[in-house]
């Protein structure tokens, strides 16, 4: 492991922002910290950057302790959601800032700035000021500024959240490509599961100041460990053991041992097959056409079900249908929520 955070703890008064969190990052890896707002992901990123003090535990790079090292000595790169370019400096001065701090020769700085502007595909903005650039351009420059100093770790704090949808999609792709080429170990904070899945080698899913699950995007989507992960990573149908036993008993074969409340079934909407059936137990309550797929809402003895189908949709509101799910398409997840499930 290249970067390791062990047993990190952070409190703000009575509020526990991070509770004994341990994460790691391999060389060249892109990892996302995913979770809802207030889950502690940004606090963790800021602790790694050295911008927030850690209360307990430590941060190490290849076994060198970083916890007592101020941010400016760590040699990390950081990109914020709000771009945070220095408004009084030109693009060139912004990118050169870290190099100037390191007293690099001006010849080398000039060449490096040019090279980076090529890399971010904005060679002509060298003399512009941040205020004259679009959001997407500013964020590219912020990225160039962060990687100019060959950071040991690149930290991205919701880098795409402030951008328009189409800019976000293209920049998502560019950041990932750049990171692959330069092989910079990168940690990105995001609350957008789609973004995390599209960009990451691994995702660290957090909630309430603890790590809930770590894994590849596929693992988190197909094998969520808890209700929270299942719910957060895309849409899912979460059904209690009791209802499954009564309505879809064939799924019980894969269920781990444990009391009824311990595990719920997680069925992804695209894993459900529907058949028109006058004697079916479920009723279509609404259908919506979303272009590449159809969203169908059902009501039945298992409660509300969400189904997604591709191709033309023949189902109509009020129609009776029968429901079929293959046992391997059902994942049993730990019930980590206190509220009773309906």
């Amino acid at each position: 492991m290249y970067l390791t955070v062990s047993n990190a703890t952070k409190r703000y008064g009575a509020f526990v922002a991070l509770d004994d969190v341990s994460v790691s990052l391999k060389k060249g890896e892109f990892v996302s910290l995913l979770g809802p707002s207030g889950c502690g992901k940004t606090t963790l990123l800021r602790i790694i950057a050295g911008l927030t003090d850690i209360d307990g535990g430590d941060v190490r790079i290849e076994d060198v302790a970083m916890s007592d090292m101020p941010a400016r000595k760590r040699g990390f790169g950081i990109v914020f959601q709000s771009y945070s370019l220095f408004p009084n400096m030109s693009v060139a001065e912004n990118i050169a800032y870290g190099l100037k701090v390191r007293k690099a020769p001006s010849e080398q700085i000039r060449a490096r700035v040019k090279e980076l502007l090529e890399i971010i595909k904005l060679p002509d903005i060298i003399d512009k000021y941040p205020g004259q650039l679009s959001g997407g351009q500013q964020q590219r420059v912020a990225l160039a500024r962060a990687i100019a100093v060959d950071p040991k770790v690149l930290l991205l704090d919701e880098p795409l959240s402030a951008l328009d949808a189409n800019v976000r999609a293209s920049l998502r792709h560019e950041i990932r490509q750049l990171q692959r080429e330069l092989k910079i170990p990168t940690l990105m904070v995001t609350h957008d599961q789609e973004e995390a899945m599209a960009m990451s080698d691994r995702i660290i899913c957090m909630n309430h100041g603890v790590v809930v699950q770590v894994g590849t995007p596929e693992e988190l989507y197909h094998k969520p460990a808890t209700r929270f992960v299942a719910d957060f990573m895309g849409s899912s149908n979460l059904i209690t053991t009791k209802l499954i036993r009564e309505t879809l008993p064939n799924l019980m074969s894969t269920r781990p041992e444990g009391p009824d409340e311990a595990f719920d079934a997680c069925i992804r909407p695209e894993e459900i097959s529907l058949v028109e059936d006058e004697s079916g137990v479920a009723t279509v309550t609404s259908t919506s056409f979303l272009g590449n797929l159809n969203r169908i809402d059902l009501d039945g003895p298992f409660g509300h079900l969400l189904v997604e189908t591709h191709g033309p949709c023949s189902f109509k509101t009020g129609q009776k249908v029968s429901v079929d799910v293959k046992p391997e398409a059902c994942t049993w997840v730990l019930n980590d929520e206190t509220e009773a499930v309906t």
């Binding site: 950057a49 050295g50 911008l51 076994d63 060198v64 302790a65 007592d68 090292m69 101020p70 941010a71 400016r72 000595k73 760590r74 040699g75 990390f76 790169g77 950081i78 914020f80 709000s82 945070s84 220095f86 408004p87 009084n88 400096m89 800032y97 870290g98 190099l99 701090v101 390191r102 690099a104 080398q108 060449a111 490096r112 090279e115 512009k128 000021y129 941040p130 205020g131 004259q132 912020a142 500024r145 962060a146 100019a148 100093v149 060959d150 950071p151 040991k152 930290l155």
Partner: protein, 564 residues
Amino acid sequence: MSVETVGAQAAPTFRKWIDSDKALAAICVIVPLIGLFLFFIYPMIIVFIRSITTADGTYGLANYAEILASKGFWRATQHSLVMGGTTTILSVFLGFIIALGLHRCAFPGKTLIRVAIVLPLIAPSLVQALGLIFILGRNGLISQFSGVEMEIYGFWGLVIANTLYGLPQAVMIISAALVLLDARIYEAADVLGSSPLRQFRDLTLPAVTFALLSASFVVFTITITDFGNAAVIGGDYSVLATEIYSQVIGQRNFNMGAVVGIMLLIPTILSYYIERQAMKRQKTQKATNIHSYVPRFQAIRDVPMGILNFLIAALILSVIGIVIYASFVKLWPYNFDFTLKHYNITLAGGYSSLWMTIWISIGAAVAGTLAVFTLAIGLRHTPEMIAQPVRILAAMPAAVPGMVLGLAYILTFNSTATPLYLLYGTATLIAVINFYHYHTQAYLTVMTGFRQFPSELAEAGSALGAGIGRISTTIIAPFVAPMLVSVFFFLFMRSMVTLSAVVFLTTPQLTVAAVTIMRLDDAGLTSQAAAFSTAVMAVVGLALLGMKGAVSLLAKRNSRKSGS
């Protein structure tokens, strides 16, 4: 290409970093704090101790008993309160009319009004009194041409002079509240069928209540603590400020002066406290994305308001303009031939005090701007537990009248008990008192800039390897530059014209412009006093233009960078 990263060689042996940044942050807070203790807290303690030091050297309340039993003190107190109250009502009323005229009415020539309103700020406070004497005094225009003998010295003279003196402050505070009013609420009221008068009563008045209150307290404070106008036009009408002066300078009775000073502190601290509370309430009303109100011409409202505005402006212009005019005529009010002879200052020292004041003001402005900037930087890195009391301390000097601070300084620095005595009689000490006298305003202005500064910018700099020093000079300073420029010129201009704080600290060898004007007037050389005032106003006026130029230059540079 590879650039060596900072701290790459960081060995595990460096378990605890000896962090130069933390030391620098501590220095940034500690040095200004030492200044505040040495040049504000300590003198204030001394003035208090002296007020309870009796003639035989023991401590007790005998001085207070003596003062409270003296008729002179009660008369001065009563005069101060009545004069202050009258002035406040007049000043805030006229200020409200001007502020409404500028922001809520449509009539041409508002620039002239704005210029007139700024004039009292660039003049030493005794200039209003001088102007009134040229118009209404025994040898004034009115008595010369109408034969009516008027007694301008005393209550009414003082009220008029101080009303003009307080007017700019009132206008600024009320205007600040008026510009926060969103045009859309008026449009909504219009659509709902509310009449303009009703809108004024239901929307405008409630929104500016706190500003009116705040303006009242500010004007009241600067009026009862003002010394310049009281000294020139007060005549036999003694007020607390002149009472301190006569105790200290007239009777060399420093301890009694200290007692009167402490007594003067009571209403000013009270009024300062209430004013701060009012401002806090005001802030909570502040909204973002304000659509500013653009008044459309309505004859019934704008004609009378326009006339009133121009009358008030004319009053200010004539009182101050007459001083300038009188400085250029041979013998006021008998011979109006042009002459420059009054500019040949015959009092000992001539213009040397003007040059000295300019140097002192530059010193106060440079060191003061640096000090508040440093303090603000340091506070960014100070734990809240320490930062909170420091912020309160930094905002305190405004509660202390200049006369009291000046008295505290002479008691502190004219004593051989400490090495601080070395500062006594130096220009440095005058620059120091000017800075601490206006510390609050300077500090608060810089803090407004810092509040707007996004901390991610500093964090980005930090992650790139920059320390506090570099971040402060390359990222923060450019960001708050407009505020720093304002603070610099504010301190310069105030130092140029202030009288109350420095009147005790000048010596025969070292004097400042405002004191020279007072001496010239005392010596009966009124035309020379006018000439000297005109010279001071010219310097301060130029500084004001310099500030406007610098601020608009900064704005232009910024707008170029933001591409608009």
